[in-house]
Amino acid sequence: MSAPHPTTLVVIFLRGGADGLALMPPLHDPDYAALRPSLAGADTGLALDGRFTLHPQLGALGALWQERRLALIPACGSDDQTLSHFEAQDLMEHGAHGVGSGWLGRHLAASGAHALQALSMDENVPLMLAAAPGAMAFRCLQGAASDALCTARISALYQQDAQLSGLAATAVSAQARLEQLSRSRHAPSAQALYPDTEFAASLRTLAGLLTAEVLELRAATVDLVGWDTHVAQSRILPAQAELLAGGLAAFARDLGPVLEHVTVVVMSEFGRRAYENTTLGTDHGRGGLMLVLGGRTQGGVHGDWPGLAAHQLIGPGDVAVATDYRQVLATVLGRDTGLSGTVFPDCDRPALAL
């Protein structure tokens, strides 16, 4: 019997603080309607279990839910109390207080990943990949070198640069491999209908890299911005949800059997205030939503639900954090790679049954 096929972890970070409550509303909870008299009204999405429904515009994920490949974890978050986007993202990407490396970077280093096994689909490598061996940003790698002699001379100069030598060497070899790939352009499968968005385009490219197996990718990251819904949330959030679900559903279909070896984690720096503000939006809060999907994932809603009654909310009126985001990540890393011990030094909460 051959060694098990390694799994690729795709982390999608929803920048801005996605409103977990609206994405997976506890529709039958009377407190929910009371806290959000204007925003709670029109949700009629897929019923997940007795408590929660899926936001209607996340409907594209319905099939994955039915196939039990989509797990949802409500009231999920970190212990950051600044409610600052930047502080909360920093903490979540480091995965611990007072460390320089990112959690995904530590994981890749510990699992012996080599250069080019981690890719950011955006223009820079996010903090969570800090300390990953040779992680690269895909967007800036496209296009062939125009002059091989010049590239050789430039590379020679970078070899002597203590700070940039690794980065430059990885860029050169990554670019060469990607050039190979671009000659055999990936045609998405017929069932995969990617929406015409930048986010979906990133996922489509990533699906191509994963199916072609050019890079032996172990991890990839994709950012989706635009979740900071302080105002007119009912106008902004549905579009964002559609963007997310449409891209993810097409990605999963496109991967086909390769999805067996892929796990997607969707996370955000925090959830939002339980009550709506005067401008029909929501301010920065605490407990939010995490999604895990892929071939190895057991579906279902996981983790405790702290409730929305006044005495159950924390701080200025936030959903309590019932599941630490590191519990989810450690569960996924442990399940998919057998390694998770060193990644989150300060978190010893039990694994979930994802």
Binding site: H85, C140, I154, L164, T278
Partner: protein, 501 residues
């Protein structure tokens, strides 16, 4: 004015930069074929002049070298810290971009893409062509500090007005004025939802706290500045009632105070009470509290030092700038003077003795010169300026800035584009490509003559000295061996040293 204009037309584009304080008359009617040879850096490390030019400009054009050779670096520094004067050459270059001076109500008649293309192009043109280099750097700095994503709501129509009244009006001025201007900027009131922050009788739900939070966290005290969630709420109450006239209203795009939506009760911000009933006056009272707070001085000084000294600036430099900030109540020009005078700015490595601020003393510890990683915008503009490129259309630069992640006016977060190197270093491969395309004249609207530049520098070693601001190291000389001028210039622009300043 006429003479200068005429000189510009005669000499074309960048030559005007050379006019400056040096002999106007002698340049007016030059011998047609004689281009003066450049005096190039001769030291093996970046000397004080070249260090200042690299750190405090968007790159060193041959004309800037000639100008500084004529007037000396001290005079250049003084000129850089002076208020900017009108520049006919820049004005001529900006003529096609009417959005730059457009009033908000008129901007609403244009499509956001048109506004974005014009303002992005104007940002590039100014950085490339203006003699007031430090001023333009500070405009970029404040555009990040008070960042607005023009993709949100009505911001596209209001962002040119914001840049004029906030960053450009107060780039070297008083930080308090800067904060006040930003608080009354219609674009900012849209961007951070302040326009919707309503309180007062009949409104029971809490005000929108977005603007209040970012004002404390990003614009003034900084995230560890010692404020609480209650302070955020108090600030939101102070700012309630300010709004912007929207479409279908009179005075579209103007800021108004609506007393009926203002919370009139007393507030306590950071321990200081703002009495009830000040109404619109809450804003100035609040501003005074925030600007005078020591955390604001530290926060702003840290950011200035990060921009001009290093990602992790020495505490001594930060506290020197912060002391000036406090004693001058936020005089930005004074802070910059203090910053430039610190040993850290001079490039002294910690522990190396720097006495009397002489070049000789600084030479002992210049290890930290040339160590600040350029962000994409800085890199692209400096490549053009150093290569003595002509610029007729900057549109292609905006494409590259998008790929490298620094589109003007499109930062996705109110924190502005970050200063730290780790956010930008992943674009190396792309930078090499752009350098090759620039030198190979494959960037539409930009022209480079590498052979002419190399000739002016009397060979590839001279070309390297011009681009690097010091004589080339042996490895650099070796890397240029046997290359033609195009190849040599593109290798130099792609080299590790040119990624930094």
């Amino acid at each position: 004015m006429d003479l200068t204009r005429r000189a510009c037309l005669l000499l074309g584009g960048n030559a005007c930069l050379a006019l400056g304080l040096s002999g106007l008359g002698s340049l007016l009617f030059p011998e047609p074929a004689v281009v003066p040879a450049l005096r190039l850096p001769r030291s093996t490390f970046c000397d004080w002049t070249n260090h200042c030019l690299a750190r405090l400009s968007y790159g060193v054009t041959p004309q800037l070298r000639a100008q500084v050779q004529a007037i000396g670096i001290d005079a250049w520094l003084e000129a850089q810290l002076a208020d900017p004067t009108p520049e006919p050459d820049v004005a001529r270059r900006l003529r096609g971009y009417e959005m730059v001076d457009c009033e908000p109500s008129s901007c609403y008649e244009y499509r956001p893409e048109v506004i974005r293309a014009q303002l992005g192009a104007a940002r590039c043109v100014r950085a490339y062509a203006s003699e007031h280099q430090l001023y333009e750097i500070m405009v970029e700095f404040w555009s990040d500090h008070f960042a607005i994503d023009m993709g949100k709501a009505d911001c596209a129509y209001l962002i040119a007005d914001d840049e004029r009244r906030v960053a450009r009006a107060h780039a070297f001025g008083s930080f308090g004025e800067l904060v006040r201007a930003s608080l009354s900027s219609p674009a900012m009131l849209w961007y951070l939802d302040g326009r919707d922050n309503r309180a007062g009788p009949g409104v029971t739900s809490p005000p929108n706290e977005n603007h209040a939070r970012e004002l404390l966290e990003l614009h003034t005290l900084g995230v560890h500045g010692g404020y609480t969630q209650d302070d955020i709420l108090q600030v939101a109450r102070c700012l309630s009632g300010w709004t912007v006239r929207a479409r279908h209203e009179f005075h579209l795009g103007s800021v108004v105070f609506e007393p009926e939506h203002h919370d009139p009760a007393a507030k306590t911000v950071l321990g200081t009470t703002i009495p009830a009933g000040l109404g619109a006056g809450d804003r100035d009272a609040l501003c005074a509290i925030l600007v005078a707070h020591p955390a604001t001085a530290t926060h702003l000084s840290t950011k200035l030092c990060q921009r001009f000294i290093s990602e992790q600036p020495p505490a001594a430099a930060v506290s020197a700038v912060a002391a000036t900030f406090q004693s001058t109540r936020g005089d930005i020009r004074a802070c910059l003077r203090t910053l430039i005078a610190t040993p850290a700015f001079r490039g002294a490595s910690p522990g190396a003795g720097v006495g009397a601020g002489t070049d000789a003393a600084a030479a002992a510890g210049v290890a930290l010169r040339g160590t600040l990683f350029k962000r994409p915008f800085h890199y692209l503009i400096s490549a053009m300026r150093s290569a003595d490129a002509t610029l007729s259309d900057p549109a292609v630069l905006l494409d590259h800035l998008q790929i490298l992640g620094q589109s003007p006016y499109r930062c996705a977060t109110p924190a502005g584009y970050p200063l730290a190197q780790r956010h930008w270093q992943d674009g190396l491969w792309w930078r090499w490509r752009v350098a090759a395309d620039l030198v190979g004249n494959r960037l539409a609207g930009i022209g480079v003559d590498a052979a002419a530049l190399q000739q002016r520098c009397a060979g590839s070693a001279g070309l390297a000295s011009h681009i690097l601001g010091r004589t080339p190291a042996p490895a650099e000389t070796q890397a240029l061996t046997g290359l033609d001028p195009d190849q040599a210039l593109s290798v130099l622009l792609a080299s590790p040293s040119f990624q930094r300043c």
